[in-house]
Every structure is written in C-alpha cells, then in structure tokens.
C-alpha cells in the first residue's frame, strides 16, 4: 500500500525477534456473540476463544486461552468496534528455528 501502513509495525525482522504481548479484555464493553467474533476469527495465533460467561448486557466476551502466544500484531485492537480489547507489548523473544520452519512451510 501507498503509505506503508503495515500490520507488522511492532515486529523487528532484522534482529529475528518477535514481541510478546499481554491481551486485555474489557468485558463490560464487549458486544460479542453471534454477530461479532472478529477478535477470535482474525487472531493469527488463536489466542482467544468465545466465552461462556455473559457480561451484564448479555453478550459473551472472549476469553484468553493461550496467554503468552500473543505477538502484538494489533489486529484485535484495530478490528474491535467497541474498543473492548487491546494489547500491550511486554517484551521480546527470539524466534525459534521451528517457528521459522513452520512459516516457510506455510508460505510454500
């Protein structure tokens, strides 16, 4: 794209590191349910799953299932209409050779 708006702005490709993030869900704001499950659907690492406990307005906010796997791509944060979810970068980790192999397999 023209203005280089990339989902990879948190990534550091040169140093072979991936950010590690913390996902925060504001359950009171969420309007998830049958009509909206964007954060669950679009997460590349499958960090989230649909919850079973309704919030005070009868919607079902997602729950975290894989705490440390978030790579701070920021998709859930951008896609959420209600601003009910956001991610923060907590640290970085070096990419393991297995992960690179998996990605290369996928791309092929």
């Amino acid at each position: 794209m023209k203005n280089e708006v990339s989902i990879r702005r948190y990534w550091n490709i040169e140093h072979c590191t991936i950010p590690v993030g913390k996902v925060t869900i504001i359950a009171g704001f969420c309007k998830g349910g049958d009509d909206c499950d964007d954060c669950i659907k679009l997460c590349p690492e499958k960090v989230l799953e649909r919850g079973t406990v309704p919030n005070e307005r009868g919607y079902f906010p997602p729950v975290l299932v894989a705490e440390g796997k978030c790579t701070v791509c920021g998709r859930c944060q951008l896609y959420c209409s209600e601003n009910a979810i956001f991610v923060e970068k907590t640290g970085e980790r070096i990419v393991t050779p297995e992960e690179i192999a998996i990605r290369e397999e996928k791309s092929q």
Partner: protein
C-alpha cells in the same frame, strides 16, 4: 482493567463509552482506523476537528476526543466549511452516513467539490437510513427490501464515487470497514491531499442484513471486494452484490489552479470628471440635537439622513451620532422616517423622541399618526410646500419656526424627483446654518452614485439659493 490504559484512550471520550452501535456494526472500526491514521501522520489532536451530521455513523464525533461538532441533519459539510474558513490550520474531517451526506446534504456535497476547500469527507455507506429503522435512502440497491420499500426498492441507487468524481473532488477512494488497513491507507492519503477528498466506506448494517436475508455482509465484502492498484472506469460501479466490488483510489490529483475568469471582461474605465469639495472641520458647539426627516418612500429620506450625518461628521469629527431609519416593505409610496441624533456626549438612546429640527418631505407620516406634529417648542420645521398640507402646522405654538420650500416641485421642474432631498438639504443649510455648506456638499459627493454628482450638487445649490437666512 480500565479503558484508560487503551492505546487509543488519548483520542477517545471514555466517559461516553460503551458506544451505542449494534452488536456486529463495524462503524467503530472506522473510528479506530481514523485514530490510527492520525497517529500515523503524527497530527496534534488539537489541530484536528471532526464534524458530523445526524445518523449512526455521525455518532463517531461523540466518542472522539478531538474538537468535534455534531451538526444538524445533512449540514455537516457547511458547518465544517465554516470551521475551515475560520481557522485554515485545522485539519477538518466530515464524518457522515450516506443519508446525511448524499441524501439530505447532497447539495452541499456537490458544492464542496466545486468550491475546492481542503476538507476530508468520509462517507459511511450502509445502504439506507439505518438509525430510524432502515428506510430506503439514496444508495439502497435496486430490489433491496427496507421498511419503506417492502416489495424491493424500485429506484436505481446513486453511486457516491461517480458523483464525487463528477463533482470535482481531488481525491476519491472506496474502501470497506472489513479492510481497515486499506481504509487507514485511504484516510492517510485523503488527509495528505490538499483539496476536497472523499472516501466512500462500505459498512455492513445488521438491519439491512436481516431484512434482505443476507447472512453476513462482512463476509460478502471480504469475498467480493478486491483491492486494486489502478482502477478503470468500469470499477466505479459497485451497488450490485453479485459482482466484484473494486476498492482503491480512483483519483488523487493536486489541487487545480483557479483558471482565469473568462466571463468577466476587464471594463474600460471612462475618463470621469472627479468632483472635489474642500471643507474645514471645526468644533461645532452642538450639545444635543435631534433631527427627524420624514416623508414618502422614494423621495430619498434615508439618503438625506445619511447625507446629514456624514455632513455633521465632516464638520466636527468629535461628535457622536446615530442614524436610525424606519420604513415599510414598499420601495415607493410608503411612510419613511429617518432619525439622526448629534451629541457631544455618548448617546445612550438612539431614537429621536421630540425632534428639534423636523424636515417634512411629505405629510404621510403625520397623517398616519393622526395629524399631530411632534416638535420641540423651540424647534424648527422645514416643510415641503408642494407635498405637505400646511394646515396641519396651524395649531403649533408661535415659538416654533416654520419654513416652506417647494423642494419636490423644484426637483421635478429642473432635475429628477430623486434629488428633492438635496434641494431640501440646501434650503436647510441656508436657513438654519447648523452645518456648513461645504461639509454637506462633500457628504453629498460621498454618497451620490457615480455619474450623478453634478445633478446632486446643482440641486443642492438650487435649494441654497431659494432659502433666506
């Protein structure tokens, strides 16, 4: 966890949240993309203003912590134009729905492209008036069911991108809420463009989906829409869900330079004789004078009052003065009164109560009042003999000075009726000597239309000769 830790919290009015949109509505995502676009461009939030009209999508202004205006329905673009003209440094964005921008404010949308001001119009097209229960709007697709077109919409929809291209917008793009990164890109390009920019954003509406039994418009957009680098004329068309929807930038041109005005020909200036009257200002010694000029509309009553006040200002610039005028809706024939106050002190009340000098150009005002002439006991009346029934002035105290001059008769015989006020002015100047002759002549020259100075001055001289000191 609190919303205040959200990365967008700086741009959000968190006290207004959670927002009102339906579950599954993606308008909030456009808000997020807009925030990201501002963050990407590095704009100061204080220099961004957002204006919106009425509608679902116009609620965005309620949640953005920028300078925002929630305007009346359809009038978002004129309001934003006012903001932009008042402070050209602001980055003004108009957010609105299709009903707001294309339906009710359609004319303003066309006019903005013509005027070429630097506004960004982001139109969220959800195919109808969704806030009130989904009535059909300008962009409702042919055959779509809404609550006002239960058997399917019989009207062909308008194409916002085609209209924007035709109206002369310098930046035209289309995106959807399902492609927020592309949308962000379009928004950034639109804000960089220095002319009127238009981005059409397709938004799924839950009500539209349910009425037309579409399972998910979001999935349909993701499926049918295709982002293209270069777009042709065929890509403009989108309103059919069976075909591919082309996303991308249709036009991105710099602001066109304003062409030479071809219809206005440079007029050759005729050599006009310039008139000049020299006068000398001095302390007039006037403490408080109330002057009333009354007559029939068309005799130049208001003009006479203006001449009088300018002449007084010429003579003594330190005087305070007011001019008030009262007349009916008729151009000619109605009653007309002009009040002039001259005072050495500041004036608190601008209307004349009891005039010291009454210039009666006709008796219509007096007759409307019931025949009573209001005048100070030591005042002066100058009446137009040819127009005023002089028997009205009989019952006045003997201390009142009454002068008569056939001003309208003189003006009609020698010039035109419109200069009767200047004949009167000349007579008043000679008889009362409140204001100097040259000051009045300069005031006449100042207010006379070009080409008629000679006639006006001649009329003044005629009245001046007629009077006796």
């Amino acid at each position: 966890m609190e919303i205040s830790q959200h990365p967008y919290a700086e741009f959000l009015r968190t006290e207004m949240m959670p927002n009102i949109w339906c579950s599954g509505c993606r308008i909030g995502r456009i808000k997020n993309a807009f925030i990201e676009a501002i963050q990407h461009l590095g704009y100061d939030p204080d220099t961004c203003a957002v204006v919106s009209g009425i509608g679902c999508s116009s609620r965005i202004t309620g949640y953005l912590n920028l300078d925002t205006i929630h305007a009346t329905h359809g009038r978002a673009i004129p309001t934003a134009l006012g903001v932009k003209l008042a402070n050209p440094d602001l980055k003004v964005t108009v957010m609105g729905g299709d009903g707001d921008i294309l339906g009710i404010g359609g004319n303003h949308f066309l006019a903005l492209g013509r005027h070429g001001h630097d506004l960004n119009v982001f139109c969220m097209n959800n195919y109808g008036y969704s806030m009130t229960g989904f009535q059909h709007g300008p962009t409702t697709p042919l055959g779509a069911r809404t609550i006002t077109t239960m058997g399917g919409s019989p009207y062909a929809p308008v194409n916002p991108v085609a209209i924007a291209l035709a109206a002369g917008y310098t930046f035209v793009a289309r995106s959807t809420s399902s492609h927020p990164y592309h949308l962000m890109d379009c928004m950034i390009s639109a804000m960089k463009n220095r002319g009127p920019s238009f981005v059409e954003i397709l938004v799924p509406c839950m009500l539209f989906e349910r009425r037309n039994k579409i399972k998910s418009l979001e999935a349909l957009f993701l499926n049918k829409a295709k982002i293209k680098e270069t777009l042709s004329e065929e890509d403009v068309d989108q309103n059919d869900f069976t075909k591919e929807i082309s996303l991308g930038i249709f036009r991105d041109t710099p602001v066109r330079e304003k062409p030479q005005l071809s219809l206005v020909k440079s007029a050759k200036k005729k050599a006009v004789k310039t008139y000049r009257v020299n006068f000398r200002s001095r302390a007039s010694g006037i403490k408080y004078i109330q002057i009333r000029m009354e007559g029939t509309g068309g005799q130049g009553i208001v003009q006479g009052g203006k001449t009088l006040i300018h002449a007084a200002m010429n003579m003594d610039p330190k005087l305070n003065s007011t001019l008030t005028k009262r007349y009916g809706p008729e151009m000619k024939g109605g009653s007309c009164v002009t009040d002039v106050l001259l005072s050495a002190q500041p004036i608190d009340y601008p209307f004349v109560e009891v005039p010291d000098l009454l210039l009666m150009m006709s008796d219509i005002v007096t007759k409307e009042r019931g025949g009573a002439v209001i005048i100070n006991d030591k005042g002066t009346i100058v009446a137009d003999e040819s127009m005023v029934d002089l028997s009205l002035l009989d019952g006045l105290p003997s201390t009142v000075k009454v002068f008569g001059v056939p001003a309208t008769q003189i003006a009609r015989d020698n010039f035109r009726v419109v200069v009767a006020n200047n004949v009167m002015m000349g007579f008043v100047c000679k008889t009362t000597s409140i204001i100097e002759k040259n000051c009045i002549k300069a005031a006449i020259l100042k207010s006379a239309p070009p080409g008629t100075e000679e006639m006006n001055l001649a009329a003044f001289e005629k009245g001046y000769e007629f009077g006796k000191p």
